[in-house]
């Protein structure tokens, strides 16, 4: 067993800066998670993962390198199935800490979204063991900021970039199918691992099982009151981006079962307003908005974003697939058709998703959260506002980053919104 300092040294971590980063986390975690009432035993696993966020899992990943590559990504468009099939481990690189933003701003302009700035800052500052452990980063050409950020990343770490269509047309579909195939070929060659029909099928089943477990958990949130707080559900989903897939699936299922039982046992409505959160992704440890909403008297019952339903809502079909090519096609279809990211235009699917979620989860209001300078989501807010209005669902728009400088304003606005629902 390696001790952590030795491990960090072997990863080239800047130890002093890393200490500063880790110093801030416990306080934030306590404030957001431990200071509230919570009665689900199944959550202790997820809490322990965060408590040891730069420990046990990093060790596992280092050990994994004997068997296959560790690959990082920034977007749920990067197909986990193919990486698993190539004996790889995919880690969704969280870049949700304000700590990294000033480092990022040394390299890229200030007016980029905090996700990109923190991502670049995390790598540049050498304070994130996950960024240090990856053999390869897979980028995707979604928004302009990221597209250009890959060029900067490529000076610091090996990069592979997938191209993305802007339109979900026939042609767009084809481009993406090609890109998925190319990724498969690239990984096979790069890591000298052949990806067979069986290994791909097995990987698809594993990821499908993870998605189904998350679906099962989110199903329980349709109840009033919701058995699990929004911030806890968010945490669980966030951990799905880097945890060991099989262990994680088991733990989510256990938690879902506990929630199902809780729903059956104590079913007393608490009268709290039910909120849908939508917009840009919220990656670890960005818990700000959920924290403010839920300490202002409402419950977040569902998230239409990439750290919410978009991550897991549909599975890859394995029916009628008889060749590796079929499976690859099914994978590309699942990703391109079912993830309604604002980088697409038009993006009507997202409107439909939001309306359906509002109905299914009996939401009283929508909080639309865009990261500062996340152009696509900020602009798309206007359309969603229109649709929400037509359907008489109150909605508020919030634009914020990872810092806490706007907490007072946020609280005022969010409280007022909830008071008026």
């Amino acid at each position: 067993m390696m001790d952590n300092t030795k491990m960090y040294k072997s990863l080239g971590i800047d130890l002093d800066a890393h200490d500063t980063l880790m110093g801030a986390l416990p306080e934030l975690f306590k404030e957001c998670f431990l200071n509230k009432e919570q009665d689900l035993k199944g959550l202790s696993y997820f809490y322990s993962v965060v408590a040891d966020i730069h420990g046990a899992r990093v060790k596992e990943l280092i050990e994994h390198k004997n068997k296959g590559p560790v690959i990082g990504s920034f977007c749920i468009y990067v197909p986990e199935e193919i990486i698993l099939a190539a004996c790889g481990q995919l880690v969704g690189l969280c870049a949700g800490a304000d700590f990294w933003v000033p480092y990022g701003e040394q390299i890229v302009p200030k007016n980029l979204c905090p996700l990109i700035k923190a991502g670049i800052g995390a790598k540049y500052s050498r304070t994130c063991p996950y960024f240090q452990v990856v053999d390869l980063l897979i980028g995707e050409n979604t928004c302009d900021g990221k597209k250009k950020a890959w060029e900067i990343f490529s000076d610091m770490v090996e990069m592979y970039v997938m191209d993305m269509p802007n339109k979900k047309s026939e042609l767009g579909l084809k481009l993406w199918q090609e890109e998925v195939k190319n990724l498969c070929n690239f990984l096979e060659k790069k890591f000298s691992k052949s990806i067979s029909f069986d290994s791909l099928l097995d990987a698809i089943q594993k990821v499908n099982a993870k998605r189904s477990a998350l679906n099962r958990l989110y199903e329980t949130r349709k109840n009033s009151p919701t058995p699990i707080s929004g911030i806890d559900a968010l945490l669980v989903t966030q951990i799905g981006f880097y945890d060991d897939i099989e262990r994680y699936t088991k733990m989510v299922n256990a938690l879902a079962q506990e929630c199902e039982e809780k729903v059956l046992s104590n079913f007393k409505n608490n009268g709290r307003k039910r909120i849908l959160v939508t917009g840009s992704p919220m990656v670890v440890p960005n818990w700000k908005i959920h924290h403010v909403i839920e300490t202002s008297g409402a419950d977040v019952v569902v998230e239409e974003n990439c750290t919410g339903t978009r991550y897991f809502k549909d599975n890859v079909s394995i029916e009628n697939a008889s060749s590796k090519g079929d499976l690859l096609k099914n994978i590309s279809d699942r990703y391109i058709n079912n993830i309604n990211c604002a980088c697409f235009s038009p993006n009507r699917g997202r409107e439909e998703d939001i309306l359906k979620l509002c109905k299914d989860y009996k939401c009283d209001g929508i909080v639309y959260v865009s990261l500062s300078f996340c152009t696509t989501y900020m602009v798309e807010a206007e359309r969603i506002r229109k649709v929400a209005k037509e359907n008489s669902i109150p909605m508020m728009t919030v634009e914020s980053d990872y810092s806490f400088s706007d907490l007072g304003q946020l609280r005022t606005r969010i409280e007022a919104f909830i008071e008026n629902l």
Binding site: D406, Q409, T412, R413, E415, A416
Partner: protein, 249 residues
């Protein structure tokens, strides 16, 4: 029953004592949000049966006052309630406060349909005006009086308070008239406010709340830059009044 509404703003503390049975306002008061005042707040405010808290300090002051079950409500809701009470027919409210600017729209029944807040940046708030007046070495009321005389308001383009300061200083150096600079500052504040109001259609005069509403002739400047506002002598107290009113039904 005597209800106290307390609005702990970033720059000043306002309070209103309200008698619920007669719907009468008994007393009102205002003081700066200095540490000294915040500490002895208990001695300053009148005795009450119930208390409602709003404003930036609403969550913190609660511990100091140790009041039994105080009601804590956001200032947006409170301003709406208070404004409704003093001007029942007004549906658009503009609160230019110490550190933020709020625009609130009410429906016919007084319910909030929409509200907007400036994001973070202090440009466009009362604080911005104060700072800019200081650079010109003017008290805030003198600043308004002088601005009214301008025939050719200067252009101030900066989005940021700090940069706006240097812009103003270079205007001073290039010998622009002080009244034009003052009017230019007002113009930039009002343009920013209009951006906040956005495309909302407004047929009536907007009720101006907050500190600016106590300045004489401020409406003239707003009107000059195409924003029609009106004031009420209780404009400054709508937050406190609303906090008290939330306890009445």
């Amino acid at each position: 029953m005597k209800i106290l509404g307390l609005d702990i703003g970033s720059r000043s503390i306002k309070w209103i004592l309200y008698e619920a049975s007669s719907s009468c306002l008994l007393e009102k008061g205002i003081l700066d949000s200095t540490p000294h005042n915040l500490e002895r707040i208990e001695e300053i405010i009148p005795p009450f049966d119930k208390i409602g808290l709003t404003g930036y300090g609403r969550h913190n002051l609660n511990n100091v006052l140790r009041a039994e079950s105080p009601k804590i409500v956001s200032e947006i809701t409170c301003h709406a309630k208070g404004a409704r009470f003093i001007e029942p027919n007004c549906h658009h409210l503009l609160d230019i406060g110490g550190q933020d600017t709020k625009f609130i729209i009410l429906d016919a029944s007084g319910k909030i349909i929409d509200f907007k807040l400036n994001d973070r940046c202090s440009a466009g708030t009362g604080r911005y005006l104060e700072n800019m007046a200081k650079i010109l070495d003017l008290g805030i009321q003198d600043f308004i009086n002088i601005a009214i005389r301008s025939e050719k308001p200067s252009n101030i383009n900066s989005m940021c308070t700090v940069f706006a300061e240097s812009e103003i200083i270079s205007l001073i150096h290039s010998r622009e008239k002080i009244e034009d600079i003052s009017a230019g500052i007002m113009k930039s504040l009002i343009f920013r406010t209009k951006a906040l109001i956005g495309t909302n259609k407004i047929d009536e005069k907007i009720l101006l709340l907050g500190g600016l509403s106590e300045l004489e002739n401020i409406e003239i400047l707003f009107e000059r830059f195409d924003l029609k506002v009106k004031k009420n002598e209780l404009s400054r107290y709508t937050g406190a009044l609303g906090a008290a009113l939330t306890l009445t039904n």
